[in-house]
């Protein structure tokens, strides 16, 4: 279930972040409780709480007394900005490394991207 390359609490935080980015979780919506996360992933509740704390510190979630964790207003846009800033280092650099390793010229990669973009446009 986990890729073992980062601490479990980071992976839980990333999973919640992805849910917010792709719209599974809306702003103002309540997130499942730490206990529900702990039971689902079979992890110590303290680990789930650490993931939540990480997101509270980042302003993505806030705690509503007596209710639980809520997705902050503006969280999605802020996360998008952050992820855009990291897009080159997280996504493009590994892509270029891989293309170089398999001897694929970047011009070919660009052509593939253009073909994908055309297909996406056609689907709209």
């Amino acid at each position: 279930m986990f890729d073992d390359h980062s601490p479990i609490y980071r992976q839980i935080a990333d999973a919640i972040t992805r849910d917010i980015l792709n719209g599974t979780l809306d702003e103002g919506e309540q997130v499942m409780s730490t206990n529900q996360y702990a039971a689902f992933y079979r992890i110590n509740p303290a680990t789930a709480a650490k993931a939540f704390q990480h997101l509270v510190d980042a302003g993505v979630l806030y705690k509503k007394r007596g209710i639980g964790m809520i997705v902050s207003t503006g969280a999605r846009e802020r996360l998008r900005q952050e992820h855009r800033q990291r897009f080159v280092s997280d996504v493009l650099n590994p892509l270029v490394d891989e293309a170089n390793a398999i001897g694929m010229p970047l011009s070919e990669v660009i052509a593939l991207l253009q073909a994908l973009a055309a297909r996406e446009d056609a689907a709209r």
Binding site: D4, H5, S6, P7, I8, Y9, N35, A38, A39, Y41, R42, I43, N44, P45, A46, T47, K50
Partner: protein, 292 residues
């Protein structure tokens, strides 16, 4: 519910089983007690549960010594491997009746539910049960006793994988519904590591470390790449193991990587992978120089 182990030593004849062991568990939490065979795990748990006295040192529960203290002893439950309980020639009903008499917080309805969930036979004497069934009896006793401190000493090793997963699920559920302290000693480190908040590693009768599992997991890192580059990178670091495959070397360091070291490793083209708890445990208990 705080347990303090203070300089506990215990010898069996010439063999020093425990040597000035110190540990402190401030509950509620789930703690793993990890150690190789013969490391002193069972001896430590026996002393903590007042099953036997220490040669020297004390174990206290909320400041009260546990030895020869029935009030405190009723707050601590130790379930040993194979579910060795009162009444080898008795059936489950008698075993439950005895537990109900002995244990102030015994939850009879939970015991019945769990016995069904683990499909423990009702008409079989304990000594005629399979190893897995005996383990299940131990697990049910441990959970239904609802003692503020419950210790499972490799209790569930005899269970098959589905039964163990059921045990982990029930343990987490219990812990969340009625927070209390659970101490698990086990060889099955990998499958249990994610539910452990803290670990105590014991080696040759001494406590090697007591730490939060998350902190420990960041410490062990395997650096992999061309041998010369790996060697220059790990210079001055705490190296706890090296393996070679052709010209590729994988060197394990203990102490974690700083942000700048990560960047340096990336620039050198080195791969770095955090160690799983079990790998870390193997390194720590086979290498002597990393002590403390």
């Amino acid at each position: 519910m705080k347990i303090e182990v203070q300089d506990v030593s215990l010898a069996y004849g010439e063999t020093q089983a425990l040597d000035s062991v110190r540990a402190s568990i401030d509950g509620p939490r789930i703690v793993g007690l990890l150690g190789r065979n013969g490391s002193g795990k069972s001896s430590l748990l026996s002393v903590m549960a007042a099953f036997r006295p220490a040669d020297s040192g004390t174990v206290t529960y909320d400041g009260q010594p546990v030895w020869e203290n029935p009030v405190v002893a009723s707050q601590i439950a130790l379930i040993r491997e194979g579910g060795d309980v009162h009444g080898e020639d008795e059936k489950l009903d008698e075993i439950f009746r005895y537990a109900a008499w002995l244990r102030p917080n015994w939850n009879a309805s939970m015991a019945e539910e769990l016995a069904e969930a683990f499909r423990i036979p009702r008409k079989t004497n304990l000594d005629k049960m399979s190893r897995g069934q005996r383990s299940a009896v131990g697990v049910v006793l441990g959970l239904a006793t609802q003692a503020p401190v419950t210790m499972f000493d490799e209790t569930y090793l005899g269970m098959d994988a589905p039964a163990r997963v059921l045990f982990y699920d029930l343990l987490l559920k219990e812990y969340m519904e009625r927070p209390r302290t659970f101490i698990l000693s086990t060889h099955l480190i990998e499958e249990v590591s994610r539910i452990l908040e803290d670990v105590i590693i014991i080696h040759e009768g001494e406590v090697l470390m007591q730490t939060a599992t998350d902190d420990l997991l960041g410490q062990g890192v395997a650096m992999t790449g061309p041998a010369d580059r790996v060697d220059s990178f790990v210079q001055g670091m705490n190296v706890i193991g090296t393996r070679d495959l052709g010209r590729t070397r994988s060197t394990t360091i203990f102490g974690g990587l700083s942000a700048s070291q990560r960047i340096e490793a990336r620039e050198l083209g080195l791969e770095f992978t955090p160690l799983e708890l079990q790998d870390l445990f193997v390194h720590l208990t086979t290498q002597k120089e990393v002590r403390r």
